[in-house]
Structure formats: structure tokens, C-alpha cells
């Protein structure tokens, strides 16, 4: 047949294919290293070890925030086999429709290739420990599910929510800007959880394990020699006095407003109350997704930190500052007297004043809160010939205010401070087409009009007065484990007012509480404590005026400076002053004098929240 040479052709063909295979195997196994790396990334998995977040204490060592375990229920979709859904729902304490929604989500994510059907992903987040105990016993029945432990925050007190802030999963922007974070990590979203995130979060650790194709751990890699342990976050101590904070929140219940109390000698914030507030535990774990929308849609804005975010006209509390500026500018001395007949009138403008003795000098002018006196002082400051023009005078006046920390962010440890508003010359030039004088902006002199200050700014201003001329940036951080607090909190800021000028002003503030004639804040008297303060009423075009009081005590060795704002509560003397005095008394004496029990009760019971808005 002559076909035997075809045997050779076939033999050569077989041999050639064999040779091609061997060459290919040579390339695969010896020449090309990429497959070895792939094999490693296939079987070796880095498992992140999450550190526990640093604990938070108050200034007296009371534990405020700790951690608690929760359990994420994980799913490996490929391994799931049909199971008893009723049993499963009971184990997770969810309804059937919720379960269906969860599975719908898994299906959706699988289709979008967001999750792998071979690898574990979170099915149900943050199962509480009690529920985990129930699930754990049944878990063997549900193939493809397992549980991963995580820790979330646990709040020991239902207070200080605005200071503490909250922790939640990292958002898209942070994920992209900071390589430390990966999807699903937690981070501080607001408050000190955010500001001191880098200290509190600690350092993630890594464990290298061998895994099979389903991501199941098959033992540690190289005996765990490459593993790094997670470093727990640093504990921090706050300057808050949690008892005072809790007392402040309690006293502010059913009221809208804020309290900021500062230790003048250090700038440490003793209490920072913004009312209405919320229990920080509401934003932990699974409840967060349910509670957050409720809180954020509440018309009373409980999530808003009014103490640092809300600007109000300072009202009469501003007069102390006005007096200091007048003294420093030499347009006022402690003996200057102005007549006041229930008001100030000039070129058709009339500013009303309450009846009091006339003429009046500096100290009683503060005590009785005379408007006329400060209209004169304000005009004298602006119209002072050394400035050349009232416009220049305003700029000079504004500089003093800025030195006191008004109209600017103080630089506390809250990232979202409001800067308030101190109008500039240009601002009035725009409004009045450049034709304006001291009379045009007269209401500034008595703390009304365009000027806006925040409660923390007013508390800080009071602290500067208590210190007779300087302040430390208010802050809530006291100690950071193995680290120091930011140095900016240790640098004094000088107000540019000579310390001698403070004495008459402080005397006036003392008189406003203790004077026998016309004292505006006599209700703030605390037995045995030389409290000095100033009432204020912020005009509110939308309703009842806001009640304001700033104070510090004791007069000669100030331990606490405080600003209290109660919205829609009318005169400063009626609510803000007694509340401030209770706070001061609580802080200094740790108890309320029995003779003042009725004030405490009245303040606690007072409500300025409309039933309709509740």
C-alpha cells in the first residue's frame, strides 16, 4: 500500500505535539514567574485584624465610651443550600420580607460583580451579642453562613452626644483619599471621634492565612511569622466633667439652646450642651440606620451642635466687651457718666432703656444693662477723631472683637465650628452705599443688629474677661495616651485690652448679680460663690427673644466661665441666668444649695418647645 511512511508522519506528529507540550510546560513552570505569584495570591489571604478603638474618659477618669462586640453574619453565596427560612429569620430576629430583601441584595451585588460567590461577604451587619447567642446554636444548619466578630462603640452615659460624635463606615471620599481605610472600615464621622480618629483607631494588624477556593481558612502561613498584631487605639481623656455635662443636659431638657462652660485658666471645656440632644447609643450598630433618619429629619434638629454652630446676636452680654473697648480706646473711664432717661435719642433715632438712676457710670451701667450708656460708648469709639472716620473706627472696633475670638473660628477640636459674623466696613459700605456713620450702625453697640456670635465664642469671651485679658483656645481633649494634645491649646491668646481695664467691667458684672439696686441677674446669686455675669437678650424676629447669660466664678480665682443660651425664653435674667448659676454652683460645690432648690425645680420643668413642633 506504500503507506508505511505515513506511520513515520503520524509518529512525528505525535512527537511534535509532545515537544510543543514540553516547551509550553517549560515556559509555564520555569520561565514565567507570574503563575507562582498568582498561586500565592490565590492561596494566601491577608486577614485584617481590627484593633479596638481607644476608650474615652472624662476629666475625672469616668469611662464615657467603651467597645462592645457585635457579629456580622457573612455569606458565601456558592455554598448556601436551601434551609429553613423561618428558623433562620428567628435566629436573626428579622421578618421574612427582610430576609427576602437581604437575598435580593446579595443577588443584585452578585450580578454587578460587586461580591464574589466564592468569597465571603457581609450578609447581615452587626447582630447584637444576645442575638448571636441564639444564632450560634443553629448556625450549623445554615450552610454558607458564618459569623465574624467586630466591635462597635458602647456609651456608658446617655450624654455628650455632640462632643463625642459617632462612628460609622467610611464614606467614599475618605476611602479614596486615605489609603489606611478599606471598604467597610469604621471611622469617626463627627465630634472627637472624628477629630482624634488617628489616635482612637489604633493600627490595623494583618494575619496571613492559607485559604481554599472558598476563602475558608486552612491554617496560618509560615507559622504566622509574617503576621502583625493590631495595635489598640489610644485612650483619650476629655476635659468634660460628665456630671456637669449630664446636669446641663438635664436642665436644658424641653428647651432649645446651649451651654458652654470653660475653665478659664486652661481653655478646657467643662461642659458643652446643645439641646435638644440625643442618646449616643442610638447611633450604634443596627439601630443607626433606623435612628439616623429620624434624628436628622426632626424639626428640632437634635443632630445640630448649637453650641458651636448657631450664631445669635449677643444682646446685652456684648456690653461688657463694649466697655472694655471703650476703656482701651480712652473714650471711656471708670468715672465717665452719661444721663439716661429711659433711652438714647439722636437725630430721630431712639433706643429705649429701662428706668434706672441717671446719670449712670460704668459699673452700674453693666449691672442695670443701660442701653444709653453703650450707645454713647459705641459712638465715641467709632467717631473717635484718631481714626479719621467712623468707617475706620468700625475696623478698629472689629479688630478688638476678633481678638476676643468673635467672628472667627476659635480652632477648638470641633471641625465644624461656625465663625459667627462681625460686620466689616465693606459690609456696611455695600448696604448703605458708603454713606453711613456711627448712628447708622448704632445697634451694634448694644449687641444687636448684624453681629452674630456662637455660644462657644461667648463662653470664650467670658473666659478671656475672667483671665483679665487672655484666653486659651477652648478644647475638649485633655490627654491622649502615649501622645500630647495639640500644642495650639497651650498657647495663650491676648485680647489687646490692658488688664487694668478689666477691673471696673468685672465689678459691673459682679454688681449685675449682687447689686442691691437694679441688678439684672440677682436670681443668679449663689451662696458663698462670687459669681459675676451679664444678662443678654437676643432679638429674635421669628418669635420670643432668646435668653442669654454669660458668667464666671469665683471672681478672683475664676474656675469656670459659662455662656448659656435658651431660645425663645425671653429675658436673659429669667432663664439663662438661673441655669448658668445652677451650673456654676453644681461645678464648684458639686451640689445645689437647699435655698435654691426651687430655682432648680423651676428650671428643670420649664419648657420652651411648642407642643406642635415636638
Amino acid at each position: 500500500m506504500g503507506n508505511s511512511n505515513r506511520a513515520i508522519i503520524i509518529g512525528l506528529f505525535f512527537g511534535m505535539i509532545g515537544l510543543i507540550f514540553i516547551i509550553r510546560l517549560f515556559v509555564l513552570q520555569i520561565v514565567d514567574p507570574s503563575y507562582k505569584f498568582s498561586a500565592e495570591s490565590n492561596t494566601q489571604r491577608k486577614i485584617t485584624e481590627f484593633p479596638t478603638r481607644g476608650l474615652i474618659y472624662d476629666r475625672n477618669g469616668n469611662l464615657l465610651v467603651s467597645n462592645q462586640p457585635v457579629y456580622d453574619v457573612m455569606i458565601v453565596p456558592r455554598e448556601v443550600v436551601p434551609f429553613d427560612t423561618v428558623d433562620f429569620c428567628n435566629a436573626l430576629n428579622i421578618t421574612r420580607s427582610e430576609l427576602e430583601r437581604l437575598f435580593e441584595e446579595v443577588r443584585f451585588n452578585l450580578q454587578r460583580r460587586r461580591i464574589s460567590s466564592f468569597r465571603p461577604s457581609v450578609f447581615y451587619k452587626q447582630l447584637p451579642a444576645e442575638q448571636y447567642a441564639i444564632l450560634q446554636e443553629k448556625l450549623y444548619k445554615f450552610k454558607g453562613f458564618f459569623v465574624q466578630r467586630r466591635t462597635v462603640r458602647k456609651y456608658e452615659y446617655p450624654n455628650a452626644a455632640h462632643v463625642l460624635g459617632y462612628v460609622a463606615e467610611v464614606g467614599e471620599t475618605l476611602l479614596q483619599s486615605d489609603p489606611y481605610y478599606s471598604l467597610g472600615d469604621y471611622t469617626g464621622i463627627s465630634g472627637i471621634e472624628r477629630t482624634y480618629e488617628t489616635f482612637l483607631r489604633g493600627q490595623k494588624g494583618a494575619r496571613y492565612v492559607m485559604v481554599d477556593v472558598h476563602g475558608r481558612e486552612m491554617g496560618s502561613l509560615r507559622g504566622g511569622r509574617m503576621d502583625t498584631a493590631a495595635v489598640a487605639g489610644s485612650d483619650v481623656a476629655l476635659t468634660l466633667d460628665i456630671e456637669l455635662q449630664a446636669y446641663g443636659e438635664k436642665i436644658m431638657q424641653n428647651k432649645i439652646g446651649s451651654i458652654v462652660a470653660i475653665e478659664p485658666s486652661t481653655g478646657e471645656i467643662l461642659a458643652l450642651v446643645s439641646s435638644p440632644s440625643y442618646d449616643p447609643s442610638l447611633l450604634v450598630g443596627r439601630q443607626r440606620s433606623r435612628n439616623f433618619p429620624i434624628l436628622s429629619s426632626d424639626t428640632l434638629s437634635p443632630l445640630l451642635n448649637r453650641a458651636i454652630m448657631s450664631g445669635y446676636p449677643p444682646g446685652s452680654t456684648f456690653k461688657v466687651l463694649m466697655a472694655l473697648v471703650g476703656l482701651q480706646e480712652n473714650v471711656l473711664t471708670s468715672t465717665t457718666r452719661y444721663p439716661c432717661h429711659q433711652g438714647y435719642t439722636a437725630r430721630g433715632i431712639h433706643v429705649r432703656c429701662r428706668p434706672h438712676a441717671s446719670p449712670i457710670s460704668l459699673v452700674p451701667s453693666i449691672a442695670v444693662s443701660c442701653n444709653t450708656f453703650y450707645c454713647h460708648v459705641f459712638r465715641n469709639v467709632l467717631d473717635n477723631p484718631v481714626h479719621g472716620s467712623p468707617q475706620e473706627g468700625l475696623e478698629q472696633f472689629r479688630n478688638y472683637l476678633l481678638n476676643f475670638g468673635l467672628g472667627t473660628r476659635l480652632g477648638s477640636d470641633f471641625f465644624n465650628e461656625n465663625r459667627g459674623f462681625v460686620p466689616t466696613r465693606g459690609y456696611y459700605d455695600r448696604i448703605y452705599n458708603g454713606r453711613w456713620g456711627s448712628l447708622t450702625v448704632l445697634s451694634l453697640g448694644i449687641g444687636q443688629g448684624e453681629i452674630l456670635t456662637t455660644p462657644i465664642q461667648m463662653a470664650n469671651m467670658t473666659a478671656a474677661i475672667a483671665n483679665r485679658g487672655h484666653y486659651f483656645t477652648p478644647h475638649v481633649i485633655k490627654e491622649i495616651e502615649n501622645d500630647t494634645i495639640p500644642s495650639r491649646f497651650r498657647v495663650p491668646h491676648y485680647t489687646g485690652i490692658d488688664s487694668v481695664h478689666f477691673e471696673p467691667v468685672i465689678d459691673g458684672m459682679e454688681e449685675s448679680v449682687w447689686s442691691d439696686v437694679g441688678a439684672t441677674a440677682r436670681i443668679a446669686r449663689i451662696p458663698g460663690i462670687s459669681i459675676s455675669g451679664k444678662t443678654g437678650t437676643a432679638q429674635n424676629p421669628h418669635g420670643e427673644n432668646h435668653s442669654i447669660f454669660v458668667a464666671f466664678a469665683p471672681k478672683d480665682d475664676p474656675k469656670i466661665a459659662i455662656a448659656v443660651y435658651v431660645e425663645n425664653a425671653g429675658y436673659g435674667s429669667t432663664y439663662a441666668a438661673p441655669i448658668a448659676s445652677l451650673m456654676v454652683e453644681k461645678y464648684l460645690n458639686r451640689a445645689i444649695h437647699p435655698s435654691r432648690g426651687w430655682i432648680e425645680t423651676r428650671m428643670m420643668n420649664a419648657s420652651f418647645i411648642n407642643e406642635s413642633t415636638e
Partner: protein
């Protein structure tokens, strides 16, 4: 009687090709070692676990050895005489399994008897090889005889058709390997050329636009004319083609604004083909005629495959074909398997990770680990030394089979021997090729290595019937 039997057995054992038997024993042994490795975690060493695949494989190896004994004791003439009967029985089993078989991996190709499963297709390979040998060994058989070709064709296509109905296409395709045996027996090499071109065109229609294929075909057509020493004709054809292409393109440009390149090309080639046809008729050159028919045949084939692919197949089927040909990425499907398989083999390096030390194979990264992808374990645990050794073993086995086939005095034995070699070759080439990314993923086992009773049993029968025939190589079996 007993003495006679003993003597017959003695003669058989002496006459058997011990070289092949040793190769067989070694491969089965090494194969089992790898199945053992896949199913064993070095941390929890339990030597024998009755539920494990390697234990079941031991049983099948035993069954195979007994079968070898039976084959060796059977008269060679029996295989010749009963080849059609075997064929009929296995064909019946192939049909029966569609009705009473169990479905595994979407293929209804398995009988289940107790805990054991059996795939009749493994026997069908043996029976088809025997039947083909029986048909072709007839004295007057010729590849030029239409009825012979039809008989041979139906012998092969009948089981293929049934197997495709079982949805076990991979196993069906194996029977095409018998064309290697046909080649040895005189089938024209042009059949292979034509088959190769058809496959190439089929793949090309899926990856490049039609006008490019037509261009490639046209250029190769003119080159073929050129290399058949029709230099002048080739030049004139090129000139005509270029001119007509230009005219066609210009007409399209003015009439429709854009050029329809395939039609313009076809016009150009039609014009030059008319020239060539006239030349062929006038000068009586049949060779040119054949070339013309071949060219227009491939053009027609291009358009028909294109039509079938785009219009008649569903989206799913189209994707399957594209993925199988490696034209489409499917990281979670077939592509995933091949990638994981390459990673497993590649990670073995020169020496391998050592027996039982493979991580890729142990942790189930490679699917069908002990069956279709057993070669990965060889690659990962035994390295390049192991894989090249296994490839070499198979090449040696195949060459040995050719050698044995060529020394047969009987046509039947030779043809059957080539059939055995062809089937082994196809399995080895496709299976190993698939694991190293050189062949499409067709789920067929690696002979003697893959886990699976019926495949081991089938391959053993396939091989040892030939070795039995070889003991009677000097006789003329008919």
C-alpha cells in the same frame, strides 16, 4: 484440557509486549498517587478512607486487572468476529443511557448501579475502533469507493450523534481521532488540509470581519495560482482584481457614500475568476479549475458559517463557542478553570512542591481536580520534571503503539492498533493541552491518570485487546 489452557496462557504471557504493559502499570500507579494527593490533606493523614476517590480507584484498578486476565484468555478471533456485535451492544447502551441514565454535569451519559457509575461511551470507543477496523480490513475496501466511505462514515457518525444527544459532545468528538488511522490507511491528506482550512475559516469568521477573510482567501488564492507556476496568470489576475476593486469601490462611494468592502472584493475576484476560468477552459488546465472551486467553496463556507453563527445560534450557544475558542473572557466559567489550572501547574516550578504539598490542588482552586484536571496535580507537586516525564511517557506509549501496529501481519490488528493510538493521542493532546491553555476546554479524561472507573476500565480494554491481538501478530486474522 487444563494443560492446554495453561500452555495457551503461557504462550500469551510470553508473547505479550511487556514494554507496553510496564508503561501501563507505571501510569496507572502514578495516576493513583496523584488522585491520592488530591484527596489527602497532609495534616490529617488517614491512609484509607472508604469514601475517598483513591479507594474507589483502587477497586477499579483491581477490576481492570481482572479484565486484562479475561482479555488475555480470550481468543483473538473473538474480537474480530464479534466486533459488529460489540458495536451493536454499545450503540444500544448509548441509546439506553439517554432514557435510564443519570445526569451529571448536564450530560445524560451515566448508568448508575448501586454506588457505582458507568459511562457506556468508554466502551463505545473500543467498539467503534473494532468495528472500523473490521470494515476497513476487508480486502476490497477503498477510500475511493463511495459505499465504503458511507459505511465507514456512518460507523463513526452514528455513535457521535447519539453522544451529542446525550449532551456529552466532548466524548463524541474523540471518535474523530480515528481519522488519524484512516490517514495511515490511505485517506488523502487533502481531507486534512480541507478540514484544517474549514476550521480556520470557521474561527476566523468569529474574530475578524468578513471582508478581511475574503481578502486573506483572495490573496492566498492568487498566491496558490502563482506557486502552481502560472506566473503570468497570477499577475493578470492581480491586475484585474485591483482594477475591478477600484471600480467597485468608486461606484459604492458615489452611490452610497461608503464602501462595502466585501462586495467590492467579491466583484474583483469574480472578474479575475472569469478570466482564470476562460483560461482554464481554453488551455485545458483542470488544476486551475480545482483551485477555482476550492476558492469559491471557502468563500461560500465563510458566509454560511457566518450566517449560522449570527442568525441560527442563540446568544448562549454563541458565547459558549466564543469562550471555548478563547475569544471571550469568562473568568468565572471556563476561563476560570483554565486560569486556575495554569496557575497550579506554573506554581510547581522545576522540582514541584513535593508529594501532598500542592496548595492549589488541595484547596480546590482547580475544578474537576481529580478527573479532567488531574494533570495540574502532577504539575504542582512534581514540577516540570514530573510533567515533562508524563508527556514523554505518553509519547513513548503512542510511538510504541505505532511500532506494534506496523508489525501486525493482519490488517485488522494494524487498523485497530492505529485506532487505539489515535484515541489515546486525542485524549492526551486535548486533556493536557486544555490544562496548559493550548486546547479548548473539552471535558475528556487523561488516560490512566484521571479518576473515574469507566474511563480507566475502557482505556484498559482498549489497550489490552490490542496487546492480545499483538500476541497473534503473525497470524492473519480476518
Amino acid at each position: 484440557m487444563l494443560v492446554l489452557l495453561m500452555r495457551a496462557q503461557n504462550r500469551t504471557i510470553k508473547g505479550v509486549d511487556w514494554f507496553t504493559v510496564l508503561l501501563y502499570l507505571f501510569m496507572v500507579g502514578f495516576g493513583w498517587v496523584n488522585i491520592y494527593a488530591v484527596n489527602t490533606d497532609p495534616d490529617t493523614l488517614v491512609f484509607f478512607d472508604y469514601s475517598k476517590e483513591y479507594t474507589k480507584q483502587i477497586i477499579w484498578i483491581g477490576v481492570s486487572f481482572v479484565t486484562i486476565g479475561v482479555i488475555m484468555l480470550t481468543d483473538s478471533k473473538f474480537f474480530v468476529e464479534f466486533s459488529y456485535v460489540f458495536y451493536a451492544i454499545t450503540t444500544f447502551l448509548l441509546i439506553l443511557v439517554i432514557f435510564i441514565g443519570v445526569e451529571i454535569n448536564a450530560a445524560k451519559a451515566w448508568f448508575q448501579i448501586g454506588g457505582m457509575r458507568f459511562q457506556p461511551v468508554e466502551l463505545a470507543k473500543v467498539a467503534t475502533a473494532l468495528a472500523v477496523a473490521r470494515v476497513m480490513c476487508r480486502f476490497q475496501f477503498s477510500f475511493n469507493n463511495i459505499s465504503d466511505i458511507l459505511r465507514l462514515g456512518s460507523l463513526i457518525f452514528l455513535p457521535i450523534l447519539i453522544i451529542i444527544i446525550q449532551n456529552d459532545t466532548g466524548s463524541g468528538i474523540v471518535l474523530f481521532a480515528l481519522f488519524i488511522a484512516f490517514f495511515r490507511e490511505g485517506l488523502s491528506p487533502y481531507v486534512f488540509v480541507f478540514g484544517f482550512v474549514a476550521i480556520a475559516v470557521f474561527i476566523l469568521t468569529m474574530i475578524i470581519p468578513n471582508h478581511s477573510i475574503i481578502l486573506i482567501l483572495s490573496v492566498s488564492f492568487i498566491l496558490m495560482v502563482l506557486f502552481n507556476r502560472f506566473r503570468k496568470e497570477a499577475l493578470i489576475m492581480s491586475a484585474i482584481s485591483v482594477v475591478f476593486f477600484g471600480i467597485g469601490a468608486a461606484i459604492f462611494k458615489t452611490a452610497e457614500g461608503s464602501v462595502n468592502y466585501d462586495v467590492a472584493l467579491l466583484i474583483a475576484m469574480a472578474a479575475s475568476s472569469i478570466f482564470l476560468a476562460i483560461k482554464a477552459l481554453l488551455r485545458r488546465l483542470p488544476k486551475l479549475g480545482v483551485l477555482l472551486i476550492f476558492f469559491w467553496g471557502t468563500v461560500a463556507f465563510t458566509y454560511s458559517t457566518d450566517y449560522v453563527f449570527e442568525e441560527m445560534l442563540g446568544e448562549y450557544q454563541r458565547n459558549r463557542i466564543l469562550v471555548m475558542l478563547g475569544l471571550k473572557d469568562d473568568p468565572l466559567g471556563v476561563g476560570y478553570n483554565v486560569n486556575q489550572s495554569k496557575i497550579a501547574i506554573g506554581s510547581g516550578g522545576l522540582m514541584g512542591k513535593g508529594f501532598l504539598q500542592g496548595t492549589q490542588t488541595k484547596f480546590n482552586f482547580v475544578p474537576e481536580q481529580s478527573t479532567d484536571f488531574i494533570f495540574c496535580t502532577v504539575g504542582e507537586e512534581w514540577g516540570f520534571l514530573g510533567t515533562s516525564f508524563v508527556v514523554l511517557l505518553f509519547v513513548i506509549l503512542l510511538l510504541r503503539l505505532i511500532f506494534l501496529a506496523e508489525r501486525q501481519h493482519s490488517d485488522f490488528s494494524r487498523i485497530y492498533g492505529y485506532g487505539v493510538a489515535s484515541i489515546f493521542f486525542f485524549h492526551v493532546a486535548v486533556n493536557i493541552g486544555m490544562t496548559i491553555g493550548l486546547a479548548p476546554v473539552i471535558g475528556i479524561p487523561l488516560p490512566f491518570f484521571s479518576y473515574g472507573g469507566s474511563s480507566l476500565w475502557g482505556f484498559t480494554i482498549l489497550l489490552f485487546i490490542f496487546l492480545k491481538l499483538d500476541t497473534n501478530r503473525t497470524q492473519l486474522l480476518r
